[in-house]
């Protein structure tokens, strides 16, 4: 697994209908209307925000590699796969990301575990003095609360947590390398974690590859501990990691006003925001709520017409559809395409 292979997969999903930037924004988890709509259109939720700190130079390099290998081509604006690229996609291993659910917060989960393990590793051996490996105040408070009224100086207790961790890693279905990376990022009294550079040298892989493997492994581990009763401490460590409101804060604010019966124009003026921003929010709301009243904005007939035309032309490109439906605005078209799933 590496950035290029993920890109190849994502671009194949986008079906030659998006520019190069779309993939970049997707991986970084940009919360703009366009990216959020893309996520839904093209079924790429698992990859949303898996690399929040991706640099554009890194991205450009991965794209160049794909082009040089003859897997990608760019026609005037959009990118799509070559035949060779399509074949390559078939051979890709399955990805297990859950970006939409975690959006980078899997790292918070891991920080908690890292500090928990370090604390127990010292405490269980009767040592209460160590430099916390996690500097973040929230993480420190979280672990402190987690251990309140627990027998944390008891070696039996730390062993129990160790067993819980081992079992969860086994059940998560992550690969052996992933388990190894996970364990090597843990620090304690007798072992110190390894940096990404050190792991890269040891395993003969690039640091980006290792980081992706690590993120994916957390995305496999989290659902396991969220859904099972067998891992009480890991379950607690996963508290509020999964995104519970899929709306951005700003969209949530708009939704409140909308639910109170304000029109889009009225919301725009109350919030002193541009109309296009409010439109993005409405799209976001429609995406996240199956019962969103689309017919507030467009008629059933219009929906049906657009959907069937889109199927007939085999495209979701707004520009092309706009030519066919001159009376509909871009916003209305986007809304229909977003909500189409319910109509189908």
């Amino acid at each position: 697994m590496n950035l290029s292979s993920i890109l190849l997969f994502v671009i194949s999903k986008m079906d030659g209908q998006r520019t190069l930037n779309a993939g970049f924004h997707l991986l970084r988890g940009k919360k703009s209307g366009q990216t959020l709509t893309d996520v839904e259109y093209f079924n790429v939720k698992p990859f949303f925000g898996i690399l929040p700190k991706l640099e554009d130079s890194t991205y450009a390099k991965a794209i160049d590699e794909l082009m040089e290998a003859g897997l990608l081509i760019q026609d005037d604006k959009f990118v799509c796969l070559t035949q060779q690229g399509n074949k390559k996609v078939e051979e890709l291993p399955e990805f297990h990301f859950r970006g939409w659910d975690y959006r980078g917060r899997e790292m918070v989960f891991f920080s908690r575990i890292a500090l928990l393990v370090q604390t127990l590793s010292y405490m269980s051996k009767g040592e209460s003095s160590f430099t916390p490996i996690q500097r973040d105040r929230d993480t420190q408070l979280f672990v402190k609360r987690l251990l309140e009224r627990q027998p944390y100086t008891d070696p039996g207790f730390s062993k129990r947590i160790g067993d819980e961790l081992k079992m969860a890693l086994l059940q998560s279905g992550m690969s052996d390398v992933q388990k190894y990376i996970f364990a090597c990022r843990l620090t304690g009294r007798s072992e110190t974690a390894k940096t990404w550079d050190q792991l890269a040298a040891e395993l003969g892989e690039g640091t980006d590859v290792l980081r992706l493997l690590f993120i994916e492994s957390l995305h496999r581990l989290l659902p396991i501990v969220e859904e099972s009763d067998d891992f009480p401490f890991l379950t607690k460590s996963a508290f509020e990691i999964k995104v519970h409101s899929y709306l951005t804060d700003s969209a949530l604010h708009t939704k409140k006003l909308f639910d109170r019966g304000h029109s889009m124009e009225s919301i725009a003026s109350i919030r002193n925001l541009k109309m296009s921003t409010i439109e993005d929010h409405v799209i976001e709301m429609a995406m996240n709520d199956k019962r969103f009243p689309v017919t507030h904005f467009v008629s059933e007939d219009q929906i049906r017409a657009v959907i069937s035309k889109s199927a007939e032309m085999g495209t979701k490109r707004l520009k092309l559809l706009k030519k066919e439906f001159d009376t509909l605005s871009y916003f209305e078209l986007r809304l229909i395409l977003t909500a189409r799933k319910d109509v189908e």
Binding site: S129, R135, R137, S158, K159, G162, G188, S190, T195
Partner: protein
């Protein structure tokens, strides 16, 4: 009063370290005191002990949240339960709760920006305060890495709270800095308690070379032939990385450390260095504050530090255990220019300042304006502080003066390196101190014999065996 008994009963130490008792006596006499003690020599005892004896709370203002949390933790571990570290990083609710019950705490650590918070200020006024401690007091004076504009507000705060007794603590202070501390904290006739900054167990040497290549070569030879643990200070992240890679190729257990690395990796590297898994660190000046490691044997400078104070502080991380340690600075002709360039690019220029103030006065949000004017984070804070007090032309004047001062400081550092006089003496005289006795291993200008201890290198520990993931968890958790 029998301070020694308190020392033994409450802290378990037989004797005071040099300087401690004097400072404590001044504080107990309610005199404003500036204490200059080398780092790691037990500054915190200077307020802990009086705090126990005096009625009321001790307020400790500290520049770095992480440092103050460490300190509070260490005190708690040593049995002092009435300690709290109050920072703006605490969740709001928790902060309010603590503020509401401040009277329950004897030692209250705060970061300077807390002073501007109203609810805190109000609560503080009701609190009987026996002593205010300003830790790392030199932060009030310096520009750049250490300068904390928030520190300048401490003076205002003290005036409002009726000038409680004050203790300013710092490790490095020359006359100029001392004056600033006095002036900005509004101290009246403070007693200045100075402990010698001389570290007799450290030998200083300076080596002239002709190229960066020669530096690299020297460092490679040195590190493979002599003992660690050690720190190599470089001027840039890139150079730190480069040196680390060169040394790794020689089989040295080394990593680079700088602000460009992700936080987790930085913590890991620090931990590996403390535990001895790493023998060397190649770092920028981001490394060192709050690192408590006593057995550092060597500090090597691959670049010219911007001030003598910075140099002495970095070198002072070596040999805290009292055993011999060596400091080496590699110098080549262009180093002065390189450092000068770095200093100047840290300072906001006239154009940037004008641009920024104009945009802000036109009602743009300061954050955005700073970004557009390409001001650094520190630059913005400084200008914001000045803007409240002075007109634009005055700000420009002041920053101009600052830039000149920076240059002068660099000149002093260059003089130390090129002057050919005893390095120890020159450095000490810069802090207004006389060097009474030179140790045998003084400096390269006095003549150094190749010290035997440097070459007593133990054979390398064989690389750790690779353990599987579940074994590793077992090792950690049992």
């Amino acid at each position: 009063m029998d301070l020694k008994r308190v020392l033994l009963e409450r802290f378990g130490y037989e004797n005071f370290r040099p300087g401690q008792e004097e400072v404590i006596r001044h504080v107990l006499d309610n005199r404003d005191t500036i204490a200059i003690l080398p780092t790691g020599m037990g500054k915190s005892l200077c307020y802990q002990l009086p705090g126990i004896i005096m009625e009321g709370s001790v307020l400790i203002i500290s520049p770095l949240v992480s440092l103050m949390e460490d300190q509070a933790m260490r005190m708690r571990r040593n049995g002092e339960k009435q300690v709290i570290a109050l920072t703006s990083f605490l969740p709001y609710i928790e902060r309010q709760r603590i503020i509401g019950e401040l009277q329950n705490y004897k030692f209250i650590f705060i970061s300077p920006e807390m002073l501007t918070q109203e609810s805190f200020g109000r609560q503080l006024k009701r609190l009987p305060i026996s002593l205010v401690v300003v830790d790392e007091a030199h932060c009030i004076s310096q520009w750049g890495f250490d300068f904390r504009p928030d520190y300048l507000r401490i003076g205002d705060f003290l005036k409002q709270s009726g000038n409680p007794p004050l203790l300013a603590l710092t490790a490095t202070a020359d006359e100029k800095v001392l004056n600033d501390i006095q002036r900005y904290l509004g101290m009246e006739n403070p007693i200045v308690q100075r402990h010698s900054l001389d570290r007799p167990n450290i030998s200083y040497s300076i080596r002239q070379v002709n190229s960066a290549f020669e530096k690299t070569k020297w460092i490679k030879d040195r590190v493979t032939q002599t003992v660690g643990p050690g720190i190599i200070y470089a001027s840039s992240r890139k150079r730190a990385d480069e040196l680390a890679i060169e040394l790794q190729l020689e089989g040295v257990a080394v990593q680079s450390y700088h602000a460009g690395k992700e936080q987790d990796d930085r913590s890991i590297i620090q931990e590996q260095f403390l535990s001895g898994e790493l023998e060397w660190i190649c770092a920028t000046n981001a490394f060192g504050m709050g690192v408590h490691k006593d057995d550092i044997r060597q500090v090597i400078h691959d670049h010219l530090p911007p001030t003598v104070a910075a140099y002495i502080q970095e070198v002072g991380r070596a040999g805290r255990d009292g055993r011999p340690a060596a400091a080496t600075l590699l110098y080549m002709q262009t180093d002065e220019q390189t450092t000068s360039f770095i200093i100047q690019s840290d300072l906001p220029g006239e154009e940037e300042i004008r641009h920024y103030t104009k945009m802000v006065s036109e009602g743009n949000p300061p954050g955005e304006a700073a970004e557009l004017a390409s001001l650094t984070e520190t630059g913005k804070r400084v200008i914001d502080y000045y803007r409240e007090r002075y007109p634009l032309e005055e700000i420009l004047l002041r920053l101009d003066r600052l830039s000149n001062e920076k240059n002068e400081e660099l000149q002093q550092m260059t003089q130390l390196v090129k002057g050919g006089a005893c390095i120890r003496q020159s450095a000490l005289s810069y802090f207004g101190e006389l060097c009474r006795r030179k140790p045998e291993e003084c400096c390269s200008n006095c003549g150094l014999n190749d010290s035997g201890w440097l070459y007593e290198k133990e054979s390398k520990k064989s690389a750790k065996e690779r353990v599987s993931w579940d074994e590793r968890i077992t090792i950690l958790l049992g």
